[in-house]
Symmetry: C2
Subunit: 130 residues, 2 copies
Amino acid sequence: MTQDLRSLVERLKAASHPLRLRVLALLGSGELCVCQVAEVLQVPQSSVSEALRELRRAGFVQERKEGRWVFVSLVPQSEVSPVLKGILAEAMPLAEVQRDRDRAAEVKTLSIPAVCCKVQQSAKAEVSHV
Amino acid sequence: MTQDLRSLVERLKAASHPLRLRVLALLGSGELCVCQVAEVLQVPQSSVSEALRELRRAGFVQERKEGRWVFVSLVPQSEVSPVLKGILAEAMPLAEVQRDRDRAAEVKTLSIPAVCCKVQQSAKAEVSHV
DNA sequence: TTAATATTTCGATATTTTCCGATGTATCTA
DNA sequence: TAGATACATCGGAAAATATCGAAATATTAA
């Protein structure tokens, strides 16, 4: 097994997961910070963090730290692999991805701390009424 | 979770596997029958069969029966999805894929029954000296 | 420093996938 | 019809992944 083949498999595997694919597609329309992603997709923040780790390992996304926030985005277009191009071409038009993008637009109108608080609160809320 | 998104995930998952990816790439240079694929890739015939089932489910390959042989090939170019195009673009140049293609060229110089016998024999051989 | 906040990593369970020999099915051939 | 051949499916044990709350880490702010 060639290293190259194995690494292509790993990159495909990174994308073949509902949450990770949604994250990829979401970043397809621009940079977001981790808590914004968690809020938009309505999933636990630790799940987003793990999803991003895989996508970073695969070379699909990059991060930029700013204070205590971590902003993530797709790697620059010039370095985008044919595989990622194909994935985005198919994912971006999907209904659910469009909805995620709409939510992202709303979330971006809020301040980041406000969004992060919201994420924290919804996590706590789930605990309290279970 | 949209059906469309899930099905894209399933198609990506189908490709993110070493054997299945090699099969895809191998078929990238033309139709082969199942036993030829098994011989070229040197794996048990049942594994090839299972790999092909997934790739068919994903819509990447199609089959054509001719007597007791099943010939498999990639779906026609016009229907090839952006995802498959991207995968092939990255896979075809890989060293291991090229080697597989070279083996395929050799195997094609033999008659199909000869190749299938060879596959059967190598399976039996493994049993006998273990 | 202490408290709060954003993110990552850990832990532990549940689920899925992989793998291949054995068996089943369909087709050819003697 | 019997036997051989090409392929598909099954069984089920081992390995890999997913999931998410809890704990750890890192940064900011009071």
